[in-house]
């Protein structure tokens, strides 16, 4: 490598999970006092690599050396002892404790039994002033903004005398001004000799702040080097890879019909019930029968919130939803299903699957009307033939339909969820991150299924953070940013760069 001095070196790291080979011999080198971008699409293996570095998971193979010495990181404590601290995308702060308590949680100064509050407060004050957080150490974390909470996380990392701070998508929930402030802090940390591993999807940020980069794809290194010697396009090419572009074939004609679903002026204000959800402001769009509408946006753009509001999973304040031109009153997922709307949620394990239960019951749960007798009993023969039908149709690979769905690979699990909704014969199907965390082969299969659904006349709304995916599946693309629709473009006229611009455009840019 160009840098003679290496602080942290990971060599040949491999890690497999049942169903997925997450990492297959990955190398990573971090120099002292550098800002290093770790890049890759979702599922490329970044988070697994970071978890290994944080001591949260152990690699199957590979070595880690720190300052030239081989080390093992069996626990998060071991990583912290070396000065490797991770700031996760979802903060790990206790909201009802003070800044000082959060900074020193688990390492409170004082005697064995009693806290030394004044010392804790004084040390915290020093730390938070160093990074420019103008708050009292006794402020409750609950009362801080997201950006301020992030600064508390950074203060905590500093209090552990960190040498390497890993920041996982640190800018995803910040406003532009807050991002600027964060970058000042990051540069300051660098000048103090701390190395930063910076994970982001916003490539302009890489160019702006990072010194070097490493790109992963499908669990392997595909490129590394100096940021000054590469362009955003070059990074995108590395991340996406030519062969994937060839795999993601899109379909030729859409043959879209009547408008199946229209959303008009959907608005959702921040609620105390769910403070982290993005506010929606005047979201309007429509989707036609047989059409696939893509919704693109960065994390926090309000894509998932929009889908959940349409489906009745979350309430909204104003606006209306029309199905086949008729306004409908959808207050719960039950209502949505009655009107022929289905939702494949973004987190299949938390929101869709009954992991310990059989594939058969997972698949049929929403379509009991199709397999019941006298409205009360389940006709198991009908159920089995229904499940077998969708198993063949979707090519779900399983030993038996009575096996627990939790034992399937991610791709096959997702097919079970898709089958559940297909069995309902929906008019409109919303799929939120339909290929998150599944193999590339299964991704292509899921895309083909979406095409098949559209061909059969279903209006499909596909939400995805992966631009190549949106470009591959959608006939028409709507972009969102911070709870608003920022643009609409036909697939034929769309490129990744164009979409990225529409997704990241500021309000001023939009008005122009």
């Amino acid at each position: 490598m160009t840098d003679p001095e290496i602080l942290l070196k990971m060599t040949g790291i491999a890690k497999s999970f049942p169903g997925v080979k997450a990492l297959d011999g990955v190398d990573l080198e971090i120099a002292p006092a550098e800002i290093h971008a770790l890049l890759g699409e979702n599922g490329a293996g970044k988070s697994t690599l970071l978890k290994i570095l944080a001591g949260a998971q152990s690699p199957d193979r590979g070595t880690i050396s720190f300052e030239g010495n081989d080390v093992t990181l069996p626990t998060p404590q071991a990583a912290q002892k070396l000065g490797i601290v991770t700031i996760y995308q979802e903060f790990t702060l206790a909201p009802d404790m003070t800044i000082a308590e959060n900074v020193f949680i688990g390492r409170e100064p004082g005697s064995r039994l009693f806290l030394n509050w004044s010392k804790m407060a004084a040390e915290t004050l020093k730390l938070i002033r160093r990074i420019g957080l103008e708050r009292s150490p006794m402020t409750l974390v609950r009362d801080l903004s997201v950006a301020e909470q992030q600064m508390v996380e950074i203060a905590r990392a500093l209090s552990m005398h960190s040498r390497v701070i890993i920041m996982d998508e640190p800018t995803s929930a910040l406003s532009l001004a807050e991002v600027d402030k964060l970058f000042r802090i990051v540069r300051q940390l660098k000048s103090e000799g701390i190395s930063i591993i910076f994970v982001t999807h916003r490539l302009e940020e890489v160019i702006e702040i990072c010194d070097r980069f490493t790109v992963l794809r499908d669990g392997r290194n595909v490129g590394a080097g100096k940021v000054s010697e590469i362009t955003i396009d070059g990074i995108i090419r590395l991340m996406v890879g030519r062969e994937v572009n060839a795999l993601f074939a899109h379909r030729e004609d859409s043959g879209a019909g009547e408008v199946a679903l229209a959303v008009e002026g959907l608005t959702r204000r921040r609620s105390a019930h769910d403070p982290h959800a993005t506010e929606l402001q005047d979201v309007s769009f429509h989707v036609r029968r047989g059409e696939i509408l893509g919704i693109a946006g960065l994390v926090g753009a309000g894509r998932t919130e929009t889908a959940r509001a349409i489906f009745g999973a979350d309430p909204f304040d104003s606006g209306r939803v029309l199905i086949d031109g008729q306004p409908v009153d959808i207050r719960s997922p039950r209502d949505a299903i009655k009107h022929g709307v289905g939702l494949v949620p973004e987190d299949r394990k938390q929101q869709a699957l009954f992991l310990s239960q059989a594939i058969r019951t997972n698949l049929s749960i929403a379509a009991l009307d199709r397999i019941d007798r006298f409205g009360l009993f389940i006709d198991e023969r009908k159920e089995r033939s229904l499940v077998e039908e969708y198993r063949k149709l979707l090519n779900i690979r399983m030993a038996s339909i009575d096996q627990a769905v939790g034992n399937l690979s991610g791709g096959n699990q997702q097919k079970v969820v898709l089958a559940r909704w297909l069995a309902l014969r929906p008019k409109v199907l919303i799929v939120d991150e339909p290929t998150r965390g599944i193999d590339i082969g299964a991704k292509v299969e899921v895309h083909n299924l979406l095409f098949e659904m559209a061909r059969s006349g279903i209006a499909v709304i596909a939400i995805s953070s992966e631009l190549p995916e949106v470009l591959a599946v959608a006939d028409r693309i709507v972009t969102m940013r911070e709870g608003r629709v920022t643009g609409e473009v036909m697939r034929a006229d769309a490129t990744q760069e164009k979409l990225m611009t529409m997704m990241t455009l500021s309000a001023a840019g939009r008005a122009a």
């Binding site: 997922p333 310990s356 929403a366 198991e380 030993a399 690979s409």
Partner: protein, 339 residues
């Protein structure tokens, strides 16, 4: 495709642990019976075995209801108190009021066993519904609601009974607790029929699917179009129904109802359900398991009595068993996660 290969590899081989976990309660029960049969010859006599079953049938009825509750990841601690209250109401109805409460004999006609049974069940169902509504509408955790219910219903029972028992029913009333059909005690038949019906409801009805779904993953159930609050409320109603039915059968067996009846039943009943393989995390369990679990607890207690083990030690044993059963469940769950 590597995917195909992996899928077959995952499912190749017989899941020994899974099979063992499934039949563990039955194997444990048979082993226990063999041990008691060897140590104490009186244990295997048909009189004793029917006696065990008669005792099991009351807690068994409650355990059937509790299975529905625990399948939704809930818990009901109020059942012992609710049973006492429902039993007293049934007894008062059977005696036609409170004035003849201690008359033992044929002099008092009252309103008959039919209305008495109905009254017990109505009390149980209403009590269960109140708790179900508190859980789903007020969003108070089941543990807290039913802990409160435990005190409320016990208080109601004490108030209603004004301190003393209500005893002495007509023979057609006591038949439900003491009678036999052939050699088989009536409560045992009630228990087994109830178990069969509950099994059908859970295994073959839409309702059962909804219970498992809500217990397995409430958010996924809601997003699949299920009315989660309705399902949760319903299991407490079912629990209340069985508490009422159990109260009627118990008062018939004892020819008496009293305010302290059913004290500590919640522990025995929850132990029966959990030992039967129903997961306290919800979504996993069967009525068959609960029947085995109930019999297992009954056999254990009976065997210990026959061997003159102090009832204090029995309590200790039940407490330890419930913790071990849950530990086993947690272990099994972590294995399922890894799979």
């Amino acid at each position: 495709m590597t995917d195909v290969k992996r899928e077959t590899a995952e499912n190749a081989g017989f899941d020994l642990f899974g099979a063992l976990a499934r039949f563990a309660p039955l194997i444990f029960l048979i082993a226990l019976m063999i041990i008691f049969a060897v140590l104490e010859p009186r244990f295997m006599s048909s009189i004793n075995l029917f006696n065990v079953m008669r005792q099991v049938s009351i807690t068994g009825l409650l355990a059937i209801g509790m299975t529905f509750v625990i399948l939704t990841a809930g818990i009901d601690l109020s059942i012992g108190s609710l049973l006492a209250f429902a039993g007293l109401v049934a007894a008062a109805v059977a005696k036609g009021g409170m004035q003849d409460r201690f008359t033992v004999g044929e002099g008092v006609i009252g309103y008959g066993w039919q209305l008495a049974a109905l009254a017990a069940i109505a009390v149980g169902v209403c009590g269960g519904m109140l708790q179900g509504l508190a859980i789903t509408r007020l969003k108070v955790p089941p543990f807290v609601v039913t802990l409160g219910g435990m005190s409320v219903f016990r208080g109601a029972a004490l108030l209603f009974a004004a301190g003393g028992p209500i005893s002495g029913f007509q023979p057609d009333y006591t038949w439900w607790g003491q009678g036999k059909i052939g050699p088989v005690p009536v409560p045992v038949i009630i228990f087994l029929v109830a178990a069969l019906l509950a099994h059908i409801a859970l295994r073959y009805m839409r309702y059962g699917r909804q219970v498992y779904a809500v217990g397995g993953n409430p958010e996924a159930a809601r997003l699949s179009g299920l009315n989660v609050n309705w399902v949760i409320c319903s299991v407490y109603v079912i629990m209340g129904f069985f508490a009422g039915l159990g109260a009627f059968v118990l008062s018939a067996r004892l020819n008496s109802a009293e305010a302290v009846a059913g004290t500590g039943y919640e522990l025995t009943v929850i132990a029966s359900v959990v030992i039967g393989g129903t997961s306290l995390f919800g979504g996993v369990g069967t009525i068959f398991g609960t029947v085995i679990g109930s019999i297992l607890i009954g056999v254990l207690l009976n065997g210990l009595v026959l061997m003159n083990v102090s009832s204090y030690i029995q309590q200790i044993i039940i407490g330890v068993i419930i913790v071990l059963a849950v530990a086993f469940d947690t272990f099994a769950k972590s294995r399922r996660r890894k799979a």
